[in-house]
Symmetry: C2
């Protein structure tokens, strides 16, 4: 397994590999790899000749008061996990490589970047769309793998790929959960023991809503109210939002119909967590 | 010579050509081709195995009160000119192909898109940066050719290519002028006989400034004043701006030094014209 730091070296590797007819599967990450990332890597490993994992804690997707500085970083551990999964290349660029002096260009997705998580994290999805576009142009993947955990991100990336005519297939893989249902996330590491226990309530809320919808509930406001009741029982958990939207274009829904995305964000102490469920209503 | 309308067909052509090791030279245009465009095509013809010219009057770079509808369109004439120059493909996409329903993604270049021409044409360079990024991703050129006439556009495109890690070389070719010095432009066709005669004053103003700088003038405000005096002698010509900026990053200059860009825009009747000169001060 190679660890590549220079953009030029990465793009040369990718160009040469593509010229030789090798397919490239790509998993862009911020490191702190967990079972969710590993499920993406395994899928990429099965489907491609070469697997590239990028590890880049992207400053442009963090707000000024967010956790950029304290975001967990452990290259040694991440590299061991990647090696175990048969990854060919870790692309581990410098911040000054991705954002050199004079950098001025951003990729923005209108509407989709103003709702759900964007309300608490203004500018976040502009940072994501920009860095992912850059990484795609450097790594030249045939297929890139994303987790359904970041549902809004997945919808936005698919939109960018379509709109900018990028030649990448996007594959979104199911959320991997802990035994009690908590969605795997690098930020779970921030939770203390008590908070970690409270966090299980997110999935309980989502499953409650799923149950209601399966029994025929069609009013999003009613469903959201029932979820709130469950989640607010945990005093430590502060709801940021609970939304029921169209799973393809994130359009808010007045009535449950078709493929819907049930998405929520909460704060537990200083930690912001998100989770979601896709349901065929 | 092929005329391709479908994005899928264009990108298949480009992929296959690149796989065969052919180099592609690309000239993105809005049609209404003139000697300026032809100079780009000739250069591309010399330097590449294949030459692709796109003809697309891009709605997203026109303001609501601008000339999108009346912009000159003449595919037959453009196609004849291209054929004569040995162009291999004209890419002539539909507006609904480039901007399908649900389109939401834009490429924006901060700062560079807020100055000079952008003040009179808000959103213009966002439209340009977006469509050029899309066209590059579809046509996959090794080298793309732009005219120095659109100086700000050239600087912005170079910035986009660097910032988004696009694998395209940008070549900017000199302005081609009429006998009286007027820079070739598709919009010159809008001018009536009298206006056309007045338009020569733009180049006179630029040459005056060049003369002053060669004689040692270093104060941009003084030079701009002298240019104004010349240009305003033509009553029909209304100055939009005259600016002296750094040629690489368009930074306004307080003193003439290094490679400078002398840029101006005027209105003659309803027609907006731009011109510029690069001078080593």
């Amino acid at each position: 397994m190679k660890i590549i730091r220079l953009i030029k070296e990465m793009s040369n590797f990718s160009c040469l590999s593509r010229q030789k007819g090798k397919t490239i599967g790509f998993i862009p990450t911020m490191g702190a790899l967990h079972a969710g990332h590993l499920s993406l890597i395994r899928c990429a490993r099965k489907e491609n000749d070469l697997v590239v994992v990028s590890i880049f804690v992207n400053p442009s997707q963090f707000g000024p008061k967010e956790d950029f500085k304290k975001y967990p970083r452990n290259l040694k551990k991440d590299a061991d996990l990647c090696k175990n999964e048969g990854v060919d290349v870790i692309f581990y660029p410098l911040v000054t490589g991705i954002y050199p002096a004079g950098f001025k260009t951003y990729v923005e997705v209108k509407e989709l970047s103003d709702m759900l998580c964007a309300k608490s994290r203004p500018g976040h999805f502009k940072g994501v769309a920009t860095v992912v576009t850059k990484l795609f142009n450097i790594v030249l993947p045939d297929t890139a793998y994303f987790g359904q955990k970041d549902a809004q991100q997945a919808v936005i990336i698919k939109r960018v790929v379509m709109d900018l005519n990028l030649a990448v297939r996007i594959k979104v893989m199911p959320i991997i959960r802990e035994k009690d249902g908590l969605a795997m996330s690098s930020r779970n590491a921030y939770l203390d023991k008590k908070e970690r226990k409270s966090a299980a309530v997110l999935y309980m809320g989502l499953k409650k809503a799923e149950g209601l919808i399966k029994k025929g509930a069609v009013n999003p406001q009613y469903i959201i109210r029932r979820m709130k009741n469950i989640i607010e029982k945990e005093r430590a958990v502060k709801i940021d939002y609970i939304s029921i939207v169209d799973a393809e274009d994130l359009r808010p829904l007045k009535r449950i119909k078709g493929k819907i995305l049930l998405a929520l964000a909460v704060r537990i102490g200083k930690v912001r967590l998100i989770d979601n469920l896709i349901i065929n209503g």
